[in-house]
Symmetry: C2
């Protein structure tokens, strides 16, 4: 365990770490479907959508010569394919937009807001997410996330785990990497951050993928902090 | 006066509009000088520093082939020249850094925080400043400015009034320009924003430059809102 006393800012993975995207989307779409007479297996849609998430970003990550495409657009493209594959009918353009914007309306895990609020008293706190700036900004308003600023893959035109995101965050914060701590429920995110000199904090979110969860039940690396929730991170950081 | 009912976000000029840089810096440096035995005409230094502000950014604006330089660095360069010109002696590197970081420790005008807090209940609020991201983030912590996110010239590698800043802000917010309102105490800033389709709000800060104030005592354009303070803007925006 290394020295974390120099840390000045904590940056957070968002989908799965701060917010429960799966339960949020399934509930949102189920309610919306009932109110608007739209029928589908929303759980299958949400799980299928997230299953193609990494691959959709890899298209951008592996073709840096092409223009960067924000996550809202990747989400929309994936949704259109998935709706066809699942044979969901009766969705017009406004409906597809409403579903895509569902990623802006995600609820936090029960400990997120209280933990962030404690950490904010002593540190700069920000997302460092693959979500685009507007998505993260709208989500913060919706969920009451008290960020000091919004750091997004969009600002660097690179998706995590590209180095440009972690180092770009430190650069914009005016801090050396070792004064920035990456917080995530995903070991691979922390691995990339640690390799570049950032400090790391892991929190398990074992229900993130529901019955489909395969990884990240526990810490799989030498992280600076391993906590059971954001309250535990705040405690370790002296807040 | 045009329709402002579609506005979703307000972006704010910061130096002079949100914070009183002149009084803040003079007081900060005077106190620091007394405590540390450093003698200088701090008022002359602060006024001289701000007097070369526009010119220092113009060097970047007019040489876009060169690498972008953040405001902290421009401030430091201007300070070194000015210290020599004013014949201030006895300042080491740490002292020059302390003075430069003074721009991160600025106090708000008396109405700023209350007005922003009201506006935040209905709108996305952000700086749109030539200050770099770390400067604006640190200032927000210091002054209690409740921004939803930090938009800075640094993100666009262009200083205001370059079009890239106003249009870049709208793009990152995921909004067309007419759904974004620029708030400033400077008519030229609003003129640039309005030309690009943003809505505009003017608030006079007639003591910004102290006895040296020459412009911006009043609105000099067809701005959507002209208010006496941020409370007046909040009122006009239905908050």
């Amino acid at each position: 365990m290394s020295d974390i006393s120099a840390v000045k800012a904590l940056v957070f993975d968002v989908f799965g770490t701060v917010v429960d995207w799966r339960t949020s989307l399934i509930n949102d779409f189920t309610k919306w479907g009932e109110a608007n007479g739209k029928k589908a297996d929303w759980t299958a849609l949400v799980d299928g959508w997230r299953a193609v998430y990494a691959a959709s970003m890899d298209v951008v990550r592996k073709n840096p010569q092409d223009d960067y495409v924000i996550l809202d657009v990747l989400h929309r493209r994936s949704l259109e394919k998935l709706v066809a594959e699942l044979g969901i009918t009766g969705l017009n353009d406004a409906d597809l937009r409403h579903l895509t914007m569902g990623w802006h309306r995600l609820h936090p895990w029960p400990d997120s807001v209280a933990g962030l609020t404690r950490l904010k008293t002593k540190y700069v706190i920000s997302p460092l997410s693959n979500g685009n700036v507007a998505l993260l900004t709208n989500m913060a308003k919706f969920a009451g996330l008290p960020w000091d600023l919004i750091l997004s893959a969009e600002l660097f035109e690179h998706y995590k785990p590209d180095a440009e995101t972690y180092l770009g965050a430190a650069r914009l914060l005016g801090l050396p990497p070792e004064q920035v701590m990456m917080v995530a429920a995903h070991n691979h995110d922390l691995r990339a951050a640690q390799k570049l000199g950032l400090k790391t904090a892991f929190v398990a979110r074992p229900t993130e993928y529901g019955p489909l969860q395969k990884y990240d039940f526990e810490a799989r690396g030498d992280w600076d902090i391993v906590a059971k929730d954001f309250g535990g991170i705040a405690h370790r950081m002296g807040c």
